[in-house]
């Protein structure tokens, strides 16, 4: 079974639009056909999978079967067109012809992958902490909309950070729903407690890791946003920082000139 990859240049310069709620206007069905599109979490990102099936020669394929063949509950199958032979090729359409039988179905399949942009984790003070005092950790990440093409139509995925898993390197961790912010942005003093701060109890050097969890939704051809089941964990940068007792901490400036500075 050969898998042939072809790139189709669609003749339609101005394709008609698919509609919301999975509905497909007649004019679209008659012009390009109604695509079947689904999205799922795949390999650290979101994969959108679109397919259009052409059932071979028109008017064929029914044999002598009666018109009630697919009646009743047996026909209520919601899965998209299966494409077991399509392989996992990307960047183009995937055509699975069956040369032995000219009237068998041909499925055009297109895949497009989106990955969330990795956020950044930050800490205050930057690179060090004082044992017994609050260290303020926070993440910097935005809601991200990414655009692409699926079956020659616009497709977009939006990633939203929903959870922040901090591993503080001292065998403690926290799973937080807020990304946090700097002390200055929150209008509070240095070493104040924040919803995302952490207190180290022993001196030493620590590796701090953050995994951001994203939820995702997609839209296809100006349709509605559709939520994708599952979340995508993304590892952010590692912070390496040293905790010391207040006595041994370097101060930023002369404590007599800036008594409120760190360590004074």
């Amino acid at each position: 079974m050969a898998i042939v990859v072809i790139t189709l240049a669609l003749a339609l310069a101005t394709p008609l639009s698919a509609n919301a709620n999975g509905q497909c206007p007649d004019v679209l069905a008659q012009t390009t056909g109604c695509p079947s599109v689904g999205g799922g979490v795949h390999d650290g990102g979101v994969q959108l999978d679109g397919s259009i099936t052409t059932p071979g020669s028109p008017g064929r394929g029914f044999g002598g079967r009666g018109s009630t063949e697919t009646g009743g509950e047996n026909a209520s199958v919601t899965t998209p067109v299966p494409c077991a032979q399509c392989g996992s090729l990307r960047d183009g359409y995937h055509v699975t012809p069956n040369p032995a039988n000219a009237v068998s179905a041909v499925t055009l399949r297109d895949l497009v992958n989106f990955k969330p942009v990795v956020g950044i984790d930050n800490m205050e003070p930057n690179g060090w902490m004082v044992v017994g005092l609050h260290t303020n950790f926070y993440a910097t990440v935005n809601v991200q909309a990414q655009d692409g093409q699926l079956l020659a139509r616009p497709a977009s995925v939006q990633f939203t950070p929903v959870r922040y898993h901090w591993a503080y390197g001292d065998r403690t961790s926290a799973s937080l729903a807020v990304m946090g912010n700097s002390w200055a942005a929150q209008g509070i003093k240095e070493f104040d407690a924040t919803p995302t701060s952490h207190i180290y109890t022993a001196a030493g050097t620590y590796n701090i890791d953050l995994v951001m969890e994203f939820s995702a939704q997609y839209r296809f051809a100006d349709g509605p946003w559709t939520a994708i089941v599952g979340t995508i964990p993304v590892q952010a940068n590692r912070l390496v920082a040293t905790a010391g007792d207040a006595k041994t901490v370097l101060v930023e400036r002369d404590c007599s000139k800036r008594p409120s500075g760190p360590g004074c």
């Binding site: 189709l8 669609l10 003749a11 339609l12 101005t14 008609l16 639009s17 509609n19 919301a20 709620n21 999975g22 509905q23 497909c24 206007p25 007649d26 004019v27 679209l28 069905a29 008659q30 012009t31 390009t32 056909g33 109604c34 079947s36 259009i52 099936t53 052409t54 059932p55 028109p58 008017g59 394929g61 029914f62 018109s67 009630t68 063949e69 697919t70 009646g71 009743g72 509950e73 026909a75 209520s76 199958v77 899965t79 998209p80 067109v81 055009l108």
Partner: protein, 185 residues
């Protein structure tokens, strides 16, 4: 002690008089109100009604597109709800692009999926699966050049949902029509 019941009776009589419900003359059992819930005697009857309604729908939809999307509101005589809205948008877009169709849409393999005779207000009373065939349909731009995609499936499966309509000659209006992949169309 009997003051209170007597007052109540007076109040009841007054209320009945106000509401015009004072019985006068012999008691008459009221005729049952006509039910708004349609009932198909058999599944075959429902299937036949859905087939007729879909035929009327396809004929009207084709006619509008053949006329370049002119007066799309005509579709309201055969469709309702999301189906009507979706296709009004489609026809307006086609009109803007100066697209028109030729040839007629066909359908077959209509199979009953669900008949809900007691659905509220007759919404979604009949659901069928069917195969639609647009082999004979061509879509042309204003230069008369076909804009049909080489990848257009000529045959597609749909799940079609109908609402009851007392004003429709076919008794059913197409309420939604969603692509359905596994019908071996």
């Amino acid at each position: 002690m009997w003051n209170i019941p007597r007052l109540s009776l007076v109040a009841l009589a007054a209320a009945l008089a106000l509401s015009g419900c004072v019985p006068s003359g012999p008691l008459v059992t009221p005729a049952p109100e006509p039910s708004s819930t349609p009932i198909f005697a058999t599944e075959d009857e429902a299937l036949a009604a859905a087939t007729a309604a879909y035929a009327a729908y396809v004929k009207m939809s084709d006619q509008i597109f053949m006329e370049g999307g002119a007066n799309p509101e005509r579709l309201g005589s055969v469709a309702t709800g999301e189906q009507l809205k979706t296709n009004l948008e489609g026809f307006r877009e086609a009109a803007k692009k100066r697209y028109r169709s030729t040839g007629g849409t066909a359908f077959d393999k209509v199979a009953l999926q669900a008949l809900s005779v007691d659905s509220p207000k007759g919404a979604g009373i009949v659901v069928v699966y069917l195969c639609e065939d647009v082999t004979k349909v061509d879509v042309l731009d204003d230069q008369g050049v076909s804009v049909v995609s080489a990848t257009r499936p000529n045959r597609s499966g749909y799940e079609a949902t109908f609402n009851w309509s007392s004003t429709s000659p076919t008794r059913l209006l197409l309420a939604s029509k969603e692509p359905w992949s596994d019908l071996n169309c």
